[in-house]
Symmetry: C2
């Protein structure tokens, strides 16, 4: 009988890695994520990975058959991480723009604090064509992109905006503002370990910006038809 589902051997080999104690697994995974995030698939170096992880060269190819397979494992891992630790937590039923975007910002920041390398790596593999992945993985990537898009744009209620402004434009302005704040915050905190930072003061500042946005773009209470 012919195997229809491919890669019996590969599965056996990757298992070795998954049997490792979590702490060691994590060290290797983080080292590899960081390397691929910093250099992309082609220019990432397996030598630097094993050096950063503190293991012998041989071990990497004992756990993974090849650089390519390691990369695919990391993509799969990252997709699952982003899905379960970030997107799945967003309340897609929240219709208020600011509430929704605030949730996205907050949950993303929390997930990023939990594993920053995953997000840096995702920025690479979401754009990169270098690696060419098996169709089934490429499909999952597209799913994730669409899921993210949906959470950002679908089911948003723009009826509460001031009537004298184009609601789509207002929506974009709000989005750019929140993105800008977030981006600038991350740039300011670059180099520090996100997990160790007390974000409360930054969130307070953030809510100050949100208050201004609401005051500016939302219909004033009790002024309606």
């Amino acid at each position: 009988m012919v195997k229809l589902c491919g890669n019996g051997e590969v599965a056996i080999i990757v298992e070795r890695f998954e049997k490792l104690e979590d702490s060691k697994q994590s060290i290797i995974r983080q080292a590899a994520l960081a390397e691929f995030a910093a250099h992309g698939y082609a220019k990432a170096s397996t030598n630097r990975i094993v050096q950063a992880a503190g293991i012998g060269k041989g071990m990497l190819f004992y756990y993974f058959t090849s650089k390519q397979e390691l990369y695919e494992y990391l993509v799969k891992y990252s997709l699952e991480f982003i899905q379960s630790r970030y997107l799945a937590r967003v309340d897609a039923a929240e219709p208020d723009v600011i509430e929704r975007l605030t949730q996205l910002a907050r949950l993303k920041m929390e997930a990023q604090a939990e594993n920053e390398e995953v997000f840096k790596f995702s920025a690479v593999f979401l754009l990169e064509g270098d690696a060419q992945l098996p169709v089934e993985l490429a499909a999952k990537i597209n799913e994730l992109k669409k899921a993210g898009y949906r959470l950002m744009y679908e089911g948003i209620d723009k009826s509460r905006f001031r009537k004298d402004m184009d609601p789509d434009k207002v929506f974009h302005l709000i989005r750019w503002s929140i993105d800008g704040f977030q981006q600038e915050l991350l740039a300011k905190l670059a180099g520090q370990k996100l997990a160790e930072i007390d974000f409360e003061p930054y969130w307070d500042e953030f809510y100050g910006y949100l208050a201004i946005l609401k005051m500016s773009f939302y219909e004033t209470e009790g002024e309606s038809s």
Copy 2:
């Protein structure tokens, strides 16, 4: 007598490049800018540069003594380009936030249309520590950074904002909005030659956003003390 000002030989060699007809100079320059922009100093390849420029390997080292000198030439060229074609054109006396930021956006877009590679390259060398440049060049880079910072933040009149909002926060919201628009536009136009694009419709859209920002954040006319 001792030469106090260094590099007599280098000057003679670079002269060869500067004597070239402009069109050829430009082809080589653009190829090199693109290569360094895409890969950074360390991983840029002189082989790919000569290939892209359509010249023999030897010529590159006939015009420039080394990869390092080529890089320094490009940094110098880019600094001058950005200074003269972008920053110098900004009217630093314009006190109105939106007017000022609009100018910055518009002039940057025009300069980018004139030579896109310079801006992509500048994004690299403004961050990169790889190359280590001679102090005198590093100083010029810092000057440029400061000049840019000044044009963005200095001499701005925030007194026309609504009195019930923190003017610094409003300023940042406006900045992020304009940046967001610009960034998204550039992403949408990626791959096309900026110089061949008719920007009028985009500017119209942009002014639509500005109108909303003014309506939202500026003190309403005739409501004062």
